[in-house]
Symmetry: C2
Subunit: 193 residues, 2 copies
DNA sequence: GTTTATGTTGATTGATGAGTCAATAAACTT
DNA sequence: AAGTTTATTGACTCATCAATCAACATAAAC
């Protein structure tokens, strides 16, 4: 029953199915057919809308980044003062939108993809830059020139916790992870203040 | 010119070629033929010695872990006292044997592999456990019950720095990375002492 | 109501790559 | 020197998949 205006619906379904599928199998070795099937359509239709598997992957990556960006923006809007803002950024990084098995699993695989695909690399560096600039904005006034190093460390720690989350089974505990990073940050700030 | 006693040589060559190849292409999507070619033999021979691509990957992973283990052991042997030992562990993690583009790239891909292969997962958890126990051994006497959390944070930070190393081009700076982590650790210890 | 744009799929193509096998050759054994 | 074990490869099989295409169906436009 082909209605008109299916495109955005199909695209969204494919993106969602892609993330699920990559998260499930834990690898980029997912077939377009599998993705399409999970999204409730034929593989031909997936190609019709996206043109290639590569484009599907990129769309999925963009979607995750958009999600994360929204989460951060939302948390920041409700935060006041440097410390609170920092805390908001950290908490948003482990929010329920991003810090989930499938999403984190997909995320890890996008890191791999970024090694070979220029577009994926670009998207990833957008994320890294944004995180760093968010941190620096509120760290600089608090600890001055050491902010740079601390931001790098915090970024690495967050990525590392994502990886570990993917590997260890069970339900992810975003609050615990956020507390860990926040504790680290507080200590870094306390020393300099 | 078939001599006898080739097996260990061929195996070693294949392992080395595998790491290089994975590091280069930045993905597990390397063909046995490519690996074999780089190691100077036919793909049939690679299968003859390892049986399957999976086994080749696992051997490569084991090799990296052995390398890393040796590095840590060596550094620990020359270290005295809790603080020095901790420093040694951190420095060994970013030693020239492990903290190199290809090796780190292969490492990242093995994380991915661990999501689907039980054996790979086991190997990875051996590494994580060993690192954690190394850290705890000297952290506990210094900061008591907080040691657990700190060890987790340090481990995550190390992993995160590896990932970032892979993504950013250029020559890796192990010393800088080690300093970053060491600074974090020192601060954690200073607060409690 | 015929044309045009959109939605949809089954079948097909073409490439690629893991793993097998038969065959060859050199080295050791007895 | 006949037989056995180890080393080695080119050629082959078989499966998988990305991408394409022809065909058909429904809705909108004229």
């Amino acid at each position: 029953m082909p209605k008109v205006g299916m495109e955005p619906i199909r695209r969204a379904a494919l993106v969602k199915a892609t993330i699920t599928e990559i998260g499930r199998t834990g690898s980029l070795d997912v077939t377009v057919s599998k993705i399409a099937k999970r999204a409730g359509m034929s593989s031909a239709l997936a190609h019709h809308y996206f043109g290639s598997k590569e484009q599907i992957f990129l769309a999925a990556m963009r979607h995750i980044l958009t999600l994360y960006g929204a989460e951060v923006r939302g948390a920041l809007a409700a935060a006041d003062g440097h410390e609170e803002r920092l805390r908001a950024v950290v908490r948003a990084s482990f929010g329920t939108g991003s810090f989930r098995r499938e999403v984190a699993g997909a995320w890890l695989n996008f890191y791999v993809l970024a090694q070979t695909q220029a577009d994926a690399r670009r998207l990833l560096s957008v994320y890294q830059r944004r995180l760093k600039s968010n941190l620096l904005h509120d760290l600089k006034p608090l600890i001055g020139e050491r902010a740079d190093v601390v931001a790098l460390g915090v970024g690495a720690m967050i990525d590392g916790l994502y990886i570990r989350e993917v590997l260890k089974g069970g339900t992810p505990d975003g609050a615990a992870a956020a507390n860990l990073v926040w504790g680290h940050l507080r200590r870094e700030m306390g020393v300099a203040a």
